[in-house]
């Protein structure tokens, strides 16, 4: 079920090359399986089509702990593997939060929490206005990131606009006050799937749901410490 847990998986080697971000390490790994399924099975995007106007869009709103993101981008050929050896260095394009201007394939520069959903809503509206009906927009948010009120502006409007947008919330129970009643109840008007965030087939099925808009809550091990 969890291919990435196998020590022979090439992502392990790439991930281990990303160093210098110990503080954010647990959160990096919480996103790993969802990111892999997105890039390996779902997104219509490759290094060759990274600038095509009708490419699928993925925005990592939770810019924290981007080691897994960088490892997946390297595995899929968007960035050279050598870049992974210098995280946050003066000469490195890879910061502790991703910058779209510096990294091929990165759609949004994020880090300050609560910006990705609004950008994703605008992206989906812009794609719809230009008639790119096959193009899908995905955004990944952390459960603690949902604390930021700006998310809830975007959540309400996306539902009112019936927007073709899929949000993934990685739930590692890191929100200080939690989400009593379930994260999915904070997305009124959205269709929702709650899945095991390590089960690739379940993640893929949920990501392929054509909700307008659609929420995927990917539960992973609670954050420690």
């Amino acid at each position: 079920m969890t291919a990435i847990s196998a020590p022979t998986n090439p992502l392990h080697n790439l991930l281990s090359r990303v160093t210098g971000d110990a503080k954010h390490a647990p959160s990096a790994h919480s996103t790993l399986d969802v990111l892999w399924v997105l890039y390996d099975r779902v997104l219509r995007i490759s290094p060759e089509t990274a600038d095509e106007p009708d490419r699928d869009r993925f925005l990592l709103s939770k810019g924290h702990g981007p080691a897994a993101y960088y490892a997946v981008l390297a595995a899929k050929g968007f960035i050279p593997e050598e870049w992974l050896d210098d995280l946050g260095g003066w000469d490195s394009p890879l910061g502790h939060h991703p910058d779209r201007v510096l990294i091929p394939g990165v759609e949004a520069g994020t880090g300050s929490l609560g910006h990705g959903l609004g950008l994703a809503v605008g992206t989906a509206l812009g794609l719809r206005a230009q008639g790119f009906d096959r193009t899908r927009t995905f955004v990944l948010v952390g459960d603690a990131e949902l604390d930021e009120g700006s998310n809830h502006e975007a959540i309400a409007y996306a539902a009112a606009a019936g927007l073709a947008l899929t949000a993934v919330v990685i739930d590692n129970q890191s929100s200080t006050h939690g989400w009593p009643g379930g994260i999915e109840t904070r997305f009124p008007g959205w269709s929702a799937d709650v899945v095991d965030g390590r089960d690739h087939d379940a993640i893929e099925r949920a990501l392929r749901e054509p909700g307008r808009p659609h929420l995927v809550v990917a539960r992973v091990e609670p954050k420690r410490g």
């Binding site: 779209r100 520069g109 605008g122 309400a156």
Partner: protein, 282 residues
């Protein structure tokens, strides 16, 4: 100016397929025909200014040219971090068009006033700022702004001059130089009647590109926080010995209502107040 903005923007939506308009309820009624004609490119997100800026960034990332509009304190002050990150940090652009200015909403109180909008944008990279002094200056500025992808702020106000002028117009010639920004021109002309000064008009204070004639005394009169342009003037005149006076809105909150005329008088930005300050300086 607001009506001119609505008319011009509605026309631009029909003419330029890349143009999009994002509203946060303010002016929603005035844009009703545009919303009806272009439901795919005109969006009212409700009272959600952070989202308005984020949506602007997202639209721009797909190649659209978004125009965002609200009262200045909601458009700029409230959504400052979204403007900084969802536009600037993404290397994306938008046209921000505000109403209300420093104290047009005098009776509404300080919550609806933004004397600091231009100063806030001055902390960020790459913003062109237009402060039209007359409604007839608005269409040209807007039309030029939608044809590129940079970051543009258009600050509309109720206060306006009796006629429109081109950016950089020189209206009077004399020894010292007075630069009047946007709607400050008419009060400056009245205040400097009979004084030995050159009066230069600008409706585009950013980037600061005002051609100040050789003079050792410079007065800048702007309709937002006093001194907002001081460092730009200082930089422009860095190799010239000069004295400078910067007049504008004070940062102390005026806990009074009334009209914009009352507030202009309180801040010394009426003709009598300007004449006092400028005469004392010269």
């Amino acid at each position: 100016m607001r009506e001119t903005f609505v008319t011009t923007t509605t026309a631009l939506l029909a003419e330029e397929p890349r143009t999009a308009l994002v509203l946060a309820d303010i002016s929603g009624d005035a844009f009703e025909p545009a919303l009806r004609d272009h439901p795919d490119r005109v969006f009212n997100v409700g009272i959600r200014e952070q989202l308005m800026a984020g949506v602007g960034g997202g639209l721009a990332l797909t190649g659209m040219r978004p125009i965002l509009h609200s009262y200045a304190p909601f458009l700029v002050d409230r959504a400052y971090e979204q403007i900084k990150l969802d536009l600037g940090h993404q290397d994306a652009g938008a046209v921000l068009v505000s109403i209300g200015a420093s104290y047009d909403a005098a009776a509404e109180g300080y919550t609806h006033q933004s004397p600091g909008d231009v100063a806030l944008l001055d902390t960020l990279e790459g913003w062109t700022v237009h402060v039209p002094g007359h409604r007839d200056e608005v269409p040209g500025l807007l039309r030029a702004a939608v044809r590129h992808d940079d970051r543009v702020y258009v600050r509309l106000s109720e206060r306006e001059n009796r006629e429109a002028y081109a950016d950089g117009s020189v209206l009077r010639r004399g020894r010292a130089t007075v630069v009047a920004v946007g709607p400050m021109l008419d009060p400056v002309l009245e205040a400097t009647e009979g004084l030995d000064v050159t009066v230069v008009y600008t409706n585009t204070p950013r980037p600061w590109n005002v051609d100040i004639p050789a003079s050792d005394e410079v007065v800048v009169v702007e309709p937002y926080l006093a001194g907002t342009s001081a460092r730009h003037v200082s930089r422009a005149l860095r190799t010239t010995r000069h004295r400078a006076l910067h007049l504008g809105v004070g940062s102390a909150e005026v806990r009074r209502y009334g009209t914009w005329r009352d507030h202009a008088r309180e801040h010394g930005l009426d003709p009598a107040g300007l004449r006092r300050s400028i005469s004392a300086f010269l």
